[in-house]
Amino acid sequence: MAVLVLADHKDGALTQPTRSTVAAARKLGEVHVLVAGEGAGAAAAAAARLPGVAKVLTGSEAPALAEPLAAQLVALAPGYSHLLAPASAAGRNVMPRAAALLDVQVLSDVCGVVDADTFIRPIYAGNALATVKSADAKKVLTVRATSFDPVPAEGGNATVEAAPAAADPGLSSFVGAEIVKSERPELTAARIVISGGRAMGSAENFAIIEKVADRLGAAVGASRAAVDAGYAANDMQVGQTGKIVAPELYIAVGISGAIQHLAGMKDSKVIVAINKDEEAPIFQVADYGLMADLFKAVPELEAELAK
């Protein structure tokens, strides 16, 4: 039986976590992709070009709400053994709802596929990994994107067809969105991430980090402490309660390295820590540690990178 991936997309393009979810899905069977929401048409064309995708289904172009989208997944479910989505805000909103409608226990944040019934997922903020076997006939999962190398964007040639319309239960309506417009890459897809912690001292001081980010083509993140202090927006939060990232280079500036932050970035390939506290736990996971005052070191870093 085929497996169905619910795609995440933005401005008509698929997100990188969607391509990672397709990579996880390929371990389970023939992959079909459902694309719904604003800009679904263009994103569906992109999904059809992913290697390993056999069919793309397009849903409604209306802003994606959990209730009709879950109804759509349930309507399609009889044809599939597994339903997957990236463990993004969108996937985590809709997949548990669809799972409950199917009387299935959802598997959240899957970071390993052992076989068709057995999966590995982090618990306790990634301080433990549980291997769990599902007794449900159908599996519903969200996928931790950083644990699966994304499939290439090109190489496939799938058919695209409209998904049969599912009734909107009319339980909620979309009012509006305030999406931050940024020239910088998306935090979860960036090759380099530079994050600031509480030691940044103010929202204005994040400007010195942003300069380095622009120099490196990096995304800007923040620790929960910096978000709680109001220095950074919540969607910049890296950690257990924020985003999980695994870039090639992660630069932690003025971040002590609380467990909850480490849970969100410890799978990065190379970690750099800049902190004036020699005892900061971040140094225990950093490949390169620089003990220095960030207000001196960060502008110096920017100048050095400009050379």
């Binding site: 226990q105 959802v106 280079l249 540690g289």
Partner: protein, 249 residues
Amino acid sequence: MKVLVPVKRVVDYNVKVRVKADGSGVETANVKMSMNPFDEIAVEEAVRLKEKGVAEEIVAVSCGPNAAQEQLRTALAMGADRGILVEHDGVLEPLAVAKLLKAIVGREGPALVILGKQAIDDDMSATGQMLAALLGWGQGTFASRVEKEGDAIRVTREVDGGLETVSVKLPAIVTADLRLNEPRYASLPNIMKARKKPIETVKPADLGVDVTPRLSVLKVEEPAKRQAGKKVGSVQELVEKLRNEAKVI
């Protein structure tokens, strides 16, 4: 309106969890237990709705062992009016908890259920959405702002890249994200008062719910440890290493 707030007993967020040597789970014996932090935010929001005159009664519910009464008392001390303990000693997965809560909703008839967006033990982030599905109610998940508007509730949600606002018809489910509010500390007089507030105990069987787990845990292990690397003495040395040794810039 009546507001229902489910709360979960979990290992305190400050405890460094240890994986059991036999790989069967994590050590929870003799470990400090607390209310799940996101559930505290949910309780706080319900109490604020009551203080604004939007909510009339707050019922806190916990599904778990007898000791979860402690977490119900915390909710009562924060301002909930009464508690219900659905007592069960074994594993309760989100789907089972959602079924238990559906039965409680059937008895209590709340217009709003506010839950934490995620429990910090199993990190499933699922119970609220599952309860909404089973009840056929709308859901406003990962809420950073909640306002009642006539027969609907307007929920500002934390989504990737920013915020999204939805209007959800009542009765509805809301799950609380970090920035919804900052939970209060219960004052000593309120802790004393909470001791007199009623807690009713029921069993899953009384509610006619089968809570058999769907997942079997084959093993639990520690993730691979990262090794600490080297200290560099200057920014110049750092950039040199990143360029020539790590080759990432």
